[in-house]
């Protein structure tokens, strides 16, 4: 044996392996079963999250498994991608292998019909008519050609055969489905190579050019700036969120080029980059109005104060400086909501740290000092959290979606239907046989034959 035949032998074996539907079944079920893992173990969490969830021992076991099988990010693991790759090859090779024969069947110039195959069919209808064959030919022909795309008549010794067929092309249906899957996977691949998924927080009134990429520590520089002019949120009476809205402006070369308010489900798209409303948060205000109530005189003073800039307390009681802000401050283990933290420096030089929760304006009374300090008002400042993505593969995936729907419909509910009506003259009457086949849904075809033969029978009195 020469080397050449050996290698072509191997190719043949590999080809055979991939044409097997058994392989398809095994791959589909393997994908189904292994996919469960990632729905039970949260994916792409941080080490501390897993440690917290599973405890030390189980975490050690799982992270050992993760080091080999990537179970913390299993849908992007080598073995899961390998299963998808094998399925792709399986689909392609199966399709090519069967296409060779299907192609010949679909692209024939004259569809071949053989009356004896129809005669042999188990299910057919026969009845007699008192008219002669050539009379029946004139009556049947227009009826059949109305609902069948192709029909032809062949004369026989004492009668004729009417052959008709439709939807030959639907034999392609399943390959449309297969192509759609290839397109979806290809689109996904394009997206993961040429696209990105990131996020950015933009304080109201500010703009950004760099975004954080997800699942990596890297930043990505955009070729334009995103400015958040305003963020607003509204609630239903029940307290459930109603709407998150960010007014965004795209700035290119220092000039605003596009302006749009985005809400959840209505993103902004610019130059192939999509910006989605995904979260929000509050920021420390730049300036607040403080109120000072002097215990001795009972006088109340209001003063504006900037963060980290000391202000003099009226009546010479020292200075106060706001140092910090939190939107969920803790006090004795309770969450007391929005609060400011500041430091009071008394005339004596003694320093006291003071907590000023917004929800409890007289909180500072508890300190029993010379002056009661409170935050009278401050302007909320929000930042908007945007999901920023680019996915050039999305249209490939979407065309896959459309083909999938069309292909499934064609494959499941349309079939290549072939019909034969044989009319034989016998003396002064004719025998009519109606028979038909289809490549799918044989029972449906039987019903069609039944209905058709009744219809033909009724055409003549």
């Amino acid at each position: 044996m020469t080397k050449k035949t050996n290698s072509s032998d191997t190719i043949n074996r590999v080809w055979k392996f991939f044409t097997s539907v058994k392989l398809t079944v095994v791959l589909l079920l393997s994908l189904a079963v292994t996919s469960i893992i990632g729905t039970v173990i949260p994916q792409s969490g941080t080490a501390s999250e897993y440690f917290h969830k599973y405890g030390e021992l189980r975490y050690k076991i799982l992270s050992f498994l993760d080091s080999i099988f990537d179970i913390f990010d299993m849908y992007h693991s080598w073995w899961f991608q390998l299963l998808l790759l094998l399925l792709t090859i399986n689909i392609i090779i199966c399709s090519i292998d069967r296409m060779k024969t299907i192609w010949k069947i679909i692209f024939v110039k004259i569809p071949p019909f053989n009356v004896s195959t129809f005669r042999r069919l188990e299910y057919k209808k026969e009845f007699s008519e008192s008219s002669m064959p050539d009379e029946l030919e004139q009556i049947y022909k227009p009826v059949i050609s109305k609902s069948y795309g192709y029909s032809r008549i062949e004369q026989t010794n004492n009668g004729f055969c009417l052959f008709a067929e439709k939807w030959r092309w639907t034999r392609f249906g399943v390959y449309i489905v297969h192509l759609s899957i290839i397109l979806m996977l290809l689109g996904g691949l394009i997206g993961s190579i040429f696209g990105f998924e990131g996020f950015v927080n933009i304080p109201e009134g500010e703009s950004v050019k760099k975004i954080n990429l997800r699942n990596t520590a890297e930043m990505h520089l955009l070729d334009f700036e995103i400015k958040c002019e305003d963020f607003s949120l509204s609630f239903y009476d029940s307290g459930a969120p109603k709407e998150y809205r960010s007014s965004l402006v795209i700035i290119e070369n220092g000039k605003p080029v596009l302006k749009k308010d985005i809400i959840v489900n209505d993103p902004l798209r610019y130059k192939g980059i999509n910006m989605f409303q995904s979260s929000y948060g509050t920021l420390p205000p730049k300036e607040v109005t403080l109120s000072f109530t002097i215990r001795e005189t009972g006088m109340e003073y209001k003063k504006k104060a900037a963060i980290n800039k000391p202000v003099d307390i009226p009546e010479g009681l020292g200075t106060f400086i706001i140092k910090d802000y939190s939107n969920s401050a803790g006090f004795k283990g309770h969450n007391i909501g929005e609060a400011f933290m500041g430091t009071l420096t008394q005339q004596t030089g003694k320093q006291v740290n003071i907590l000023l929760p917004m929800r409890f304006p007289s909180f500072d009374k508890m300190r029993k000092g010379d002056v009661v300090i409170a935050v009278a008002s401050h302007n909320h400042r929000y930042y908007t959290g945007l999901q920023v993505t680019k996915d050039p593969g999305v249209w490939v995936v979407y065309s896959g979606f459309i083909l999938m729907i069309i292909g499934c419909f064609v494959t499941f509910f349309m079939s290549h239907q072939r019909l034969c009506i044989e009319v034989t003259g016998k003396g002064n009457h004719s025998m009519v046989m109606v028979a038909g086949t289809s490549n799918k849904n044989k029972m449906g075809m039987q019903r069609k034959i039944e209905i058709l033969s009744e219809k033909l029978n009724r055409l003549l009195p």
Partner: protein, 278 residues
């Protein structure tokens, strides 16, 4: 009269229809069968009225949206699609024993719905999308078709167990190959609509969150379901599997449907709004 009352009554009507279908099957009588059909039609009318009324009520509350936004509403719609498809099958196959295996599923869906909060809630921002209607409707047509395939697979297995054809109870069942064919038809219908459901969900996810696929547990489970039914289709079309094997696979597929629908709410993910009413 409000939608909740109508839908509660509908639950009992479906229960009665299921009971009558079973009676008609067990006692081999035609009369209760006819009555069962009309009870089922009445139930469907009530179900339809309940859904429409609930839609109107949501507008009267000033938070108008299609009644497809939480577990209660989806279960009510699920029962509705099961009934629609079932009545169509009954007409086509002219056999009422199937009803004894399918209408109880609609009854269970409604009964389970009644255990959940049925107040009309405003839509949270993530659900405010036209894709909501397309996504939920297509998914549930798929689920309902799979539910019926489950019922017929069960019938098939019962019929198969009685190898000698002794049991009189099974006399009225359709022929084995007809049950098998019906299961297959339902799986094809379900598969088409599950595919459209997943696709509309993906397009929606892309317009809401900027990705069409994120391996969220619900997404993943719907894909697992899709894989299982894709296996059924390939096994049947290409390997000529039929009968018992297909019936078992179809039941496994429906178990995956149920997990996609209910089980996933115990796992973390974006679809958790489908969880027990707040």
């Amino acid at each position: 009269m409000n939608s909740s009352i109508i839908l509660s009554v509908t639950t009992f009507v479906y229960g009665l229809a299921a009971f009558l279908y079973i009676v008609s099957w067990v006692f081999k009588k035609e009369a209760p069968g006819k009555l069962a059909l009309w009870t089922a039609v009445l139930g469907l009318a009530g179900n339809t009225a309940g859904i429409i009324l609930r839609w109107i009520e949501s507008y009267q509350l000033g938070i108008g949206h299609a009644p497809l936004s939480n577990l209660y509403e989806s279960l009510v719609f699920f029962a509705w699609t099961i009934l629609i498809i079932y009545l169509f099958v009954e007409q086509k196959y002219k056999n009422r024993t199937i009803g004894a295996f399918v209408t109880p599923l609609a009854f269970f869906a409604m009964a389970y719905a009644s255990l959940h909060n049925n107040s009309i809630q405003p839509l949270i921002p993530a659900l405010k999308s036209n894709w909501l209607i397309a996504h939920v409707i297509t998914c549930f047509i798929g689920y309902a078709a799979f539910a019926i395939a489950f019922g017929t697979s069960w019938m098939y297995l019962i019929k198969k167990r009685d190898t000698k054809g002794k049991s009189l109870l099974l006399k009225r069942f359709p022929e084995e190959n007809i049950i098998d064919e019906l299961t297959y038809q339902m799986i094809m219908l379900g598969f088409l609509f599950l595919s459209i459901g997943i696709i509309t969900g993906a397009v929606w996810a892309n317009s809401a969150w900027g990705r069409y696929w994120g391996w969220d547990p619900k997404e993943t489970w719907s894909l697992i379901t899709w894989f299982i039914y894709a296996t059924v289709l390939h096994a049947k079309m290409m390997r000529g599997w039929h009968g018992k094997k297909i019936a078992y696979l179809s039941m496994a597929g429906f178990a995956a449907v149920l997990f996609t629908y209910f089980g996933v709410n115990w796992l973390p993910g974006l679809h958790s709004y489908g969880a027990m009413g707040q």
